[in-house]
Symmetry: C2
Subunit: 304 residues, 2 copies
């Protein structure tokens, strides 16, 4: 009847045998098994165990429990598991802790950034379904770090939302705006997660990117819950994103505007930056089917 290094896993699992939720019971059985295997394999010391509990408590504490999951690659893995790929649809990415719901409505063509910041950049996008039909009247939340690599929420004296905006796609499924050319930046690294990266010899940088959260009735919610980001090709951290969020299908190459006609039409200089992107959204029915196909493979229904 004694708990020993050998039998404690079975004892712990057995204690949950009256659980009425089959899925939860399975998750706990696998969790306890992996947790115990980890401790046994590594012959985890009492000090390491206590340090880990305190680290986890600190890392998960407010403002946000996501960064520790992000740097351990778990967020991206859960995204991969839950986001069945459609042939040509835009992929999702890791949701960082900087989305806010207070961005101002921004007319197409206006800037989401306050004046005289960083390198001006024009972003011109289309929004289509998987058959190529334009999606009008979608709501698009855009947000980015400023030219110093900080989001507005990281300033104690922030006057209001900046480098973020809410746009609407027009009847041709187009939306466009001006912003600051994104720069690579370190994720907050003064806390426990930053300390962990430090002792692991990992840098805290994310490659330059722009976040897009897209909502439109009749389209799959995945892209809303795990918003994609566009990553600037050629960034020094393109292949070593601290939160492992980069996907090659989301890499974009910024060009100089060059064409004076374009510059005049959008009220920007020929030497400014220009980013072009076509977003493709999966319809609700198609999304359901993709998840069904996926769960057929794994034996478990992935809920939306």
């Amino acid at each position: 009847m004694d708990s020993t290094e050998e039998n404690i896993t079975a004892s712990t699992v057995a204690m949950g045998s009256q659980c009425k939720d089959e899925r939860l019971q399975y998750l706990m059985e696998r969790l306890v098994t992996h947790l115990h295997d980890f401790a046994r394999e590594t012959q985890l010391t009492t000090q390491e165990w206590m340090k880990a509990l305190i680290f986890l408590k600190d890392a998960l504490s407010p403002p946000h429990p996501l960064p520790i999951s992000n740097v351990l690659g778990l967020s991206t893995l859960v995204d991969s598991i839950n986001n069945p790929k459609s042939a040509n649809a835009t992929e999702s990415s890791v949701l960082g802790p900087f989305y806010t719901d207070n961005a101002h409505f921004t007319e197409n063509g206006a800037s989401i950034a306050s004046q005289n910041r960083g390198e001006p950049c024009l972003v011109r996008c289309t929004l289509k379904d998987t058959s190529g039909n334009p999606i009008p009247d979608a709501t698009i939340d855009v947000w980015e770090a400023d030219e110093t690599g900080r989001y507005d929420t990281q300033y104690e004296d922030a006057a209001g939302p900046d480098c973020r905006g809410v746009l609407k796609s027009n009847e041709d499924g187009e939306f466009w705006f001006k912003c600051v050319k994104p720069v690579s930046y370190p994720i907050p690294h003064d806390g426990p997660v930053g300390e962990l990266l430090g002792v692991l010899g990992r840098h805290p940088f994310r490659p330059a990117h722009l976040h897009f959260k897209i909502e439109k009735e009749g389209f799959d919610q995945l892209i809303t819950h795990l918003p994609p980001a566009l990553y600037l090709r050629g960034d020094p951290y393109e292949t070593s994103d601290a939160v492992l969020g980069v996907k090659s299908s989301l890499l974009v190459t910024p060009q100089k505007v060059q064409d004076p006609e374009i510059a005049a039409r959008y009220g920007i200089s020929v030497s400014d930056w220009d980013i072009l992107w076509d977003f493709v959204l999966v319809g609700e029915a198609e999304g359901r089917q993709l998840k069904k196909d996926r769960s057929g493979k794994t034996g478990y229904t992935v809920s939306s």
Copy 2:
């Protein structure tokens, strides 16, 4: 270069390859591997992942990060891994969240409980080394829940320490005190850990027990850091302790005092309870050797 369900584990581990602390690098590699294997095996959904992060944050939050580790059997496992057994020495047990360092010094024979509480119980102990020599002048912290199953710290209006005391062993290595006969009690189950036990169909009870924290220079610190508890044999929760802390070597059978001579000597009634126990402590040198033998088996030095 894309992060996929298949390659993200290797990518995450590779990002820590510059770590200068070999042990930490190994721990992180095993942690990331188990964490990712768990998510892949269970095809963890986005909702489950988010719920788990928030649950963990809540469960680890103050007052104490230990209970979640306890109910998952991890604390006992870490104890088993780190506590090499000596042939006849007293084993350690799970440290609950109720130890405090404000207990009053209690003369041998006095009661650690305030008056007129529960069923009176005499506890008579000896303290010896592994060769059978008495250990005098050791400091022994004793604490227990009261007759309602609550520790003093669980009362908002607690007047001061109760059902806890600090004793000294005499020159024959003996110490003895009166207390409330321990009763089984539920661990705090109004928070996230209690909720988890509820959905798992697990009861939150610990079998009746008494905690002992023993300190004496020249003896192994393990018994100080992971204090033993004596568990009352025959308790309905003897084989289903919510925190998996019971060890058969720590089971004790309370008897009625019966003998009028004993009753008179200790100022207690013949119908009161009597618990007898011999604690055996491992010396520092022996403790070091046991750990060395153990680490020879595992290839890693378990620190004290």
